[in-house]
Symmetry: C2
Subunit: 119 residues, 2 copies
Amino acid sequence: MTPLAADLRMRLWTLDAHVPDAAVLVDRGLLRDTLYAAAAAGRASVLGEEFCVFGNGAVTGVLVLAQSHLSLHTWPELSLANVDLLTYGDMPGEDVLRVVERGIGADRSTVACMARAVA
Amino acid sequence: MTPLAADLRMRLWTLDAHVPDAAVLVDRGLLRDTLYAAAAAGRASVLGEEFCVFGNGAVTGVLVLAQSHLSLHTWPELSLANVDLLTYGDMPGEDVLRVVERGIGADRSTVACMARAVA
């Protein structure tokens, strides 16, 4: 049977989070641990990673998961983090983002979810 | 002056594309070249990359750009690719995605753009 794209249930989850303590946003170790904990909460296999630290301490981190990804970009000067998660099937995206929110101690955040498909 | 999050003009661009020839979706070299060409079209600096090839030939590729990212996941069995691009400021996201569309020879696609912000 030919698989259908709809069967994949592709979802893109986004989290934009404000933190009261911007120090966490330049803590590469804490951020990396947080992303791994979040991936574990989604029962996702981590296949690879790429982290970059910028001149002002801002961190970009991407975990490549089994055919999806979890990314984080921090803006310490704005006390802000942007997190993106692409999911397929049953991965509980909201739980994954919740772990990131808690890990960075967000006090205000916006979560969105959009279905992905070809028209 | 304290920078404002609104000044960042954070945007998430998504492309879901169907291709008539699924062979391109297992061609790691072509896909990598396409992502680099797309990043160049957005005048984005590539700071790192992570590519994985799956058992069925499907490819995941992520380019870490200066404080943003461009990711690609292919589904050869569905003739489908999912592309995500986070942009800040003036990066012409639509141009970047257009290069990916052309590079993989998409014949049908859906592009979406969402503003990112903390409520």
